[in-house]
């Protein structure tokens, strides 16, 4: 167990998100009634409580809203990557999510850095969303 990195728990509510990632697309749940998008994915709109949820493509662009660098080994599977970054990204559409920055050193991390989505096929069945700085 501990030799492998943990994978997301797939549920009926978040499955469309991860299915889209497998197609290397970022999609968000939108409310057909009030028009707002939200995360984490839920069965209802948290703003107007409508159940009319549909998934739409997102731009994949956002900014780092916070970041950290992990120096402690909590999971043996991450040992060789220490120190590694974890960021929260505020998507252009508004919702925030947690991911990593790739394609840059940790020294570039700052709140407000513009980033874009990249897709990492970590297993045959699962693709993680990560981000890289916009050139």
């Amino acid at each position: 167990m501990s030799d492998h990195k943990p994978l997301p728990r797939i549920t009926p509510d978040n499955r469309p998100f991860w299915d889209a990632c497998r197609r290397h697309r970022l999609e968000l749940p939108y409310c057909r009634d009030c028009g707002k998008s939200h995360l984490p994915p839920g069965p209802v709109c948290p703003f107007c409580f409508s159940s009319a949820i549909e998934w739409r493509a997102a731009s994949g662009c956002g900014t780092i809203s916070s970041w950290t660098i992990v120096h402690k080994e909590w999971f043996p599977a991450f040992r060789n990557e220490i120190p590694y970054n974890v960021v929260q990204v505020e998507l252009e559409e508004g919702p925030r999510l947690t991911a990593n920055i790739v394609g840059a050193t940790n020294a570039v991390l700052r709140v407000g850095l513009k980033v874009e989505a990249v897709f990492d096929d970590v297993t045959a069945d699962l693709t993680l969303l990560r981000f890289r700085p916009v050139e």
Binding site: K5, V70, P83, V86
Partner: protein, 397 residues
């Protein structure tokens, strides 16, 4: 806000406290630590074991002990029980349930019990065995294990990093929190940490999860605390003067809340705004019939040093973004304007889920805190960054 049907103000009191030894890798079980604290609390109050007919368990198995096991093992005969989720955030919640139970007659005496072995069970704190951290779409402290953010410290780090970027706060300023709490701990024989902490040591300590250094993260210890709560009527003729629960407010939750950041900071789905304290976060003062300025000492859940800053801002002791500067100059240390966590807190006394601070509040309001005594203490507050609060009043106030 609607007027409540009945008022809980001063209807319940803490009448006994007991602690076990606090330490690391203690050989005894959580049950044995609980028994030691339970006996000490009964002795402290003058109550008998048979008087206890309710129990509120803060941290159950496997960090602690579940209510049914304690009842069975200690030979209790209970008619009211409550037990919370396995996280430190439920201190006020347990006290509130105890107070409501004795005020409404569901119980006569409720024992609030926390008995933990963080050292024996440390595998479940952020590692592969941390089942809760793997909750779909994010653990309760912001954990995202697929991305390597796997422990509560990670959520506190994300909040502090953003706070630093927005307000220019620094690690050197943050160090004032653990340094002040260590000064308090040096006056407390129960405290695990026995040496002063210097700024140089803080700055030289290893980075755990940036910007949190080792000394920004609390102790991982074992120990037990029991607090006995009964009605104000029953409290009057016991051994020690009652410590009344004068005002309370519950845990806040919603899209505007993230457990380890003040409202408006912008972690997870929080809207971003520099908010002044919300009026609804002043409920516990109003219920107690006091102004915030009447608070003689502040106690908070200090699992990570930023949480102290964020709690001070949440309750309006200083403005948004100001706390890192506000805590400088000994303001929260011994003899300061607002002493915080005077027994040393989770950072320097022990991690007993915050109940070590509840025991300290009781000692302070009995005016039996020895060298740590806050002069003429009348009102003390337990309040956390996630918005819950309890205002305690000493019998002399």
């Amino acid at each position: 806000m609607m007027r409540p049907v009945l008022s809980i103000k001063d209807q319940a009191a803490i009448v006994g406290i007991g602690t076990s030894e606090f330490g690391r890798r203690l050989p005894r079980s959580q049950l044995a630590l609980a028994a030691e604290a339970f006996k000490a609390a009964l002795d402290d109050s003058g109550l008998r074991r048979s008087d206890v007919d309710g129990i509120a368990i803060h941290l159950g198995w496997p960090l602690g002990v579940d209510y049914d096991r304690i009842a069975e093992c200690f030979g209790l005969d209970l008619r009211y029980v409550t037990q919370t989720w396995l996280h430190g955030r439920f201190v006020t919640h347990c006290l509130q349930h105890a107070a409501m139970a004795v005020a409404t007659g569901l119980a006569t005496v409720v024992a609030c019990v926390t008995a933990v072995s963080f050292t024996r069970e440390r595998d479940i704190l952020g590692g592969p065995a941390d089942f809760e951290g793997g909750r779909e779409d994010g653990g309760t402290h912001g954990e995202a294990p697929p991305y390597g953010l796997t422990a509560p410290a990670g959520g506190a780090a994300l909040a502090m990093q953003r706070y630093m970027a927005l307000y220019g706060a620094t690690s050197v300023e943050l160090a004032a929190v653990p340094i002040a709490l260590r000064k308090h701990a040096l006056g407390n024989p129960l405290a695990y940490m026995k040496r002063p902490l210097t700024l140089e040591e803080h700055q030289a300590s290893r980075m755990v999860v940036d910007p949190l250094r080792l000394y920004d993260c609390c102790l991982v210890t074992d120990g037990a605390v029991v607090a006995l709560v009964t009605s104000a009527d029953r409290a009057r003729d016991l051994k020690e003067p009652p410590v009344y629960i004068s005002g309370m407010q519950g845990i806040r939750a919603g899209r505007g809340e993230f457990i380890f950041s003040p409202p408006g900071l912008g972690i997870n789905q929080q809207p971003t705004a520099r908010t002044t304290p919300w009026d609804r976060d002043m409920e516990s003062y109003r219920m107690a019939g006091i102004d915030r300025s009447a608070i003689d000492g502040f106690y908070t859940y200090d699992a990570f040093s930023p949480l102290v800053l964020f709690a001070l801002e949440r309750f309006g002791f200083c403005g948004p973004g100001e706390a890192a500067r506000w805590v400088q100059g000994g303001r929260i240390g011994p003899g300061g304007e607002l002493p915080v966590n005077t027994s040393g807190g989770l950072l320097s006394e022990a991690h007993v889920g915050g109940w070590n601070s509840i025991a300290e509040i009781v000692r302070q309001l009995r005016h039996k805190a020895g060298p740590r005594q806050i002069a003429d203490a009348k009102f003390l507050q337990w309040g956390t960054v996630w918005g819950d609060s309890a205002v305690f009043r000493g019998a002399r106030a």
